[in-house]
Amino acid sequence: MWERIVEEAPAFFTYYNMIFLLQALLATFLLSAIGCLVGFGGGFTLAVIRRTESWTLLPFRISGVVFTEIFRRTPFLVTLMMVFFIFQIANIDISLFTVAVISVCFIATAFIAEIIRGGFDSVHRTQWDTAEAMNMTLLQTLRYVIVPQAWKIILPPVFSFFILFIKDTALASQIGVVELTYAGKVLNNKGFSAALVFGSILVLYFALSYPLARFGALMERKLAPTGNR
C-alpha cells in the first residue's frame, strides 16, 4: 500500500489536480453555507409561526410542525433523491448544484427551526407574559425581549449544525454534484489508488471542518449563559 502511494504521489499532486480539489472544497463549503443561511431564515420564520396564537394561523402552525418532523426524520440521501426526481419530472432544467442546495435548505430549515424554537423556550415564561402584559405584539416581543437573550443559546448549535452539514453534503456526490467526495471519485476512477485519493479527501475535509469546529467550541464558551434566566 505504501509503495504504491509513494509511487503515485508525484503524478497525483500536480497543479491541475490541486486546483480541481480546491474548487471542489469550495463547492462543499458553499453548499452548506448557502443551505444554512437560507435554512436560518426559514427556520426563524417557522419558529415564529409556531409561537403565534391566533386561530386563523392554525393551519400554518400545523404545517410547520409537519414540515419539521418530515425533514428531520428522513435521511438526507432520500430527500436528495426526492428533490432530484421532482425537478426531473417537472422538466425544470436546473444544475445539480442547485438541486443539492435546495435539499440542504429544506433539511436545514427543519433542524434550525427546532434549534430556534428551543432557544425561544429557553427564555423564561414570565418574560413572555410580561411583554404581553405591556401590550407588545409578538414581533415586538421577539425584537426587544426574546432575541437579545436567546441568540446566545441559538448561535452555537446552529453553527455546529453548519459544520455537521459540511460533512453530510458528501452524500450530494451521489447525484453527481462536483464537490469534494465526487472529486475523489473522479480521481479514483482516473486510476489513482483509493488510499491516496480518499486519504487526501479526508485530510481536506478535516482541514476545512476542524478549524470551524474549534471556532464553534470557542464561541460556545464565550457565549455561555450568564445565569439571569
Binding site: 500500500m1 504504491r4 418532523e69 418530515i70 426524520r73 428522513t74 435521511p75 438526507f76 440521501l77 432520500v78 430527500t79 433523491m81 426526492m82 426526481f85 421532482i86 426531473q88 419530472i89 417537472a90 422538466n91 459544520i163 460533512k167 453530510d168 458528501a170 452524500l171 456526490s173 451521489q174 467526495t181 475523489g184 479514483n188 489508488s193 483509493a194 488510499a195 480518499f198 486519504g199 479527501i201 479526508l202 475535509y205 478535516f206 471542518s209 476542524y210 469546529a213
Partner: protein, 224 residues
Amino acid sequence: MSYTLQFGQVTDYIPYLIGGAWISLQIAFLAFCGGMIIGTLGAMAKTFGGRIVSGLTNAYVAFFMNTPQLVQIFFIYFALPDAGILLTSYEAVLIGMTLNAGAYLTEIQRAGFQSVHRNEMEAAETLGMSLLQRVRYVVLPHIARVLFPPLSNQYILMTLGTSMAAIFGVEELTGRAFNINAETFRSIEVFSITAIIYIALTLCATFMLGLFGRYLFRAKMRLL
C-alpha cells in the same frame, strides 16, 4: 407538469422495503452497541487516562468527528484492500459506522463523566474500588439519567445515517428503494414510501426510547 402518481406498481414492493428497514435497524443497532463500547472506553480514557492515552483518544475523536462518514467508509471499503484487508460492503459499512459512532458517543459521554463530583470518585478510590468498578458503580448510575436523552437522539440520527449503506450496495431500506426505482422508474412514489417508512421507524424509536428513558432512568424526555 403532467405526471400522474401511480402507487399501484410500487405497493407490491412494500414488504420488500420493510425487509430492508429491518436490515437498516440491524445496522443501526449493531453500530450503536459497538459505538457505546468504544464511547465508554474513550470517555474513560479522556477522563482517567494519562496524557498520552487521552491525547490519542482526542486525536481519534477529532478525526472521526471532522470528516464525513461517507468518505471514511469509502476509505475502509476501497483503500484497505490495498493493504490486504478485504471486507464485504456490509462489514465495511458496519465498521465505518461503529468507529464514527464511537467518536460521537465518546464526546457525549465525556461530558457526563466530568459532571461526576470529584469527592465521590475519591471516596470510591478510598474504598479500594478498581477503575472499572468505579465506572460501573459510581459513574454510570449517576450519568445514565442525564445522558439518556442525547444518547437516544444520537441513535435516531444513526438510524437515518444507515441510508448511506445503500451507496455501497447493501440492500437496506434505501438500497432496496434504489433497486425498485431501477425496476419500475416510479421514482417519486418509491422514495416517498421510503421516506414514510423512515419517518414511521424514527417516530416509533423516539416514542419507545422516550418511554424507556422516563420510567427506567427518570430522564426528562418528550415522548413525541
